[in-house]
């Protein structure tokens, strides 16, 4: 058997048929093996990117390191492209199966101590009743076979959630710092705009505009920045809750950005603006 393909190491798994059913892993051609059909040929399901190396229905000879014998494998199924399984050792991530091969769990395949040890260490057991596992663990300790550490999915999930929480906090902090600087620079930009256009604004006010008209000019100025972002979000996300949240967040941000400049405009008097403004 080739140990790598396209410079990617081929992952070999021994798995029960139930794993495929439970995780809804499907074949694009051929079928997943049944546990009973292990005879002289070992059925094997291969990942999609191995389809050119291992042809469906063909037999291949592989060296079985556990028995020091050559065994014959038959390719019975080709997985759908991009098939994945959730990683149980690294909750939250998944394992891509495009370069994986699956064989049934069988004593014929795992028949020496080293392989058995490795298999036990990497065994994942799904159960509805945790006491079963605790009993196995207890029995193993009694028989002085293996010291087994029971690690529940819940504790893994808790650990992962803690990790996510830390990651989230770190991201919020980064976004916070970037936002503070961005909002600060945008407010500064608005103040610069007001200073630059002070005379123009004063002319509009003298000619009959009210402060609200000037504020609308600022809203338009900021709106020019927000509208393309909202349109891009609409194109990428479509009209869904994410889009609505983006619109609401943008509106809030606009309000925050405009508070100080609007207060400044409210405090200005036309006569002073006319005298001080430069064109």
């Amino acid at each position: 058997m080739n140990e790598e393909c396209d410079n990617v190491a081929i992952q070999q798994y021994c798995a029960d048929r139930k794993l495929f059913d439970m995780l809804d892993i499907k074949c694009s051609s051929g079928n997943v093996y049944d546990n009973e059909n292990i005879n002289s040929e070992v059925p094997m399901v291969v990942g999609y990117k191995l389809r050119n190396i291992y042809k469906l229905g063909e037999n291949y000879e592989m060296f079985n390191y556990s028995s020091d014998e050559v065994m014959t494998v038959k390719i019975v199924g080709l997985l759908e492209p991009g098939s994945t399984i959730p990683s149980l050792y690294n909750i939250g991530s998944s394992l891509n199966l495009d370069y994986a091969v699956f064989m049934p769990i069988s004593n014929n395949l795992i028949n020496n101590f080293a392989n058995l040890d490795m298999a036990i260490n990497s065994t994942v057991i799904f159960t509805d009743d945790e006491t079963n596992l605790l009993n196995i663990s207890k029995k193993s300790a009694e028989l002085n076979l293996f010291s087994m550490q029971y690690n529940s999915i819940q504790s893994n999930i808790d650990g992962y959630l803690e990790y996510l929480n830390e990651k989230l906090q770190s991201r919020i902090m980064t976004i916070g710092i970037i936002s503070v600087f961005s909002i600060g620079s945008m407010i500064l930009n608005l103040f610069t705009l007001i200073s630059r256009k002070r005379k123009e604004f004063s002319i509009h006010l003298m000619m009959g505009a009210i402060r609200k008209d000037i504020m609308m000019q600022l809203v338009c100025h900021i709106g020019i920045l927000f509208v393309p972002a909202i349109i891009i979000c609409l194109i990428i996300e479509g009209f869904n809750s994410t889009f609505l949240y983006t619109v609401i967040f943008s509106a809030l941000l606009m309000i925050i950005l405009l508070i100080l400049p609007i207060m400044r405009i409210k405090r200005m008097d036309i006569a002073t603006m006319l005298q001080k403004g430069e064109m």
């Binding site: 123009e200 002319i203 509009h204 000619m207 009959g208 036309i270 006569a271």
Partner: protein
Amino acid sequence: MEKIINLKNVNKTFSNGKSKFEILKDISFEVEKGDFIAITGSSGSGKTTLLNLLGLLLRPTSGEYTLNNKTVNDVTEKESAILRNSFFGYVVQDFALINQYTVMQNILVPVNYAPKRVRASVNAEINEYLERLNIANKKHEKVCYLSGGEKQRVAIARALINNPQVILADEPTGSLDSQSTKNIMEILIELSSEGKTVIVVTHEGDVAAKCRSRLHVSDGQIFAK
């Protein structure tokens, strides 16, 4: 004659937080429709503050200010804006034009804040004023490329476009050469003869001499001359 402006015991005080400065003290005078008044005074005497107050660019600290027999001391921002837009026309020393706008766009600024008018009639009116002020060929030019005299004529056209009752001119010839000064004063005299009320703030004696009446401001107080 019909009184259109009336100030009674008007005061204007500015404050910088620590101290107060009384710029106008107990100002009382009346302006009749069609008057052509010069307000003179030395620099810092308060004449521009008085004009700004008349034009509703500032509010009096105390006293009563009436326009057409209606007190305007406590008008709302919107009412004040309407009066600035339709009752007054402003001409100022530095022209107060928007440099990146064309002549036409500058004249249209007050039109944009006025009640809706038929665009064609506005265009016809603008053309008429531009012809009359001899700047018809500059209609689509940006004002930054115009001479001082031309800019002031654009400002006058803008001041007239909403057909105001009162023209307030703050040193209208202050930045102009003698020929342009003469032309601008001729335009203001003409407007006055057509029935517009014109109030000119100036420190130039020969400009003031062309007005029919004269008020002198000194140390914030007003004296008839």
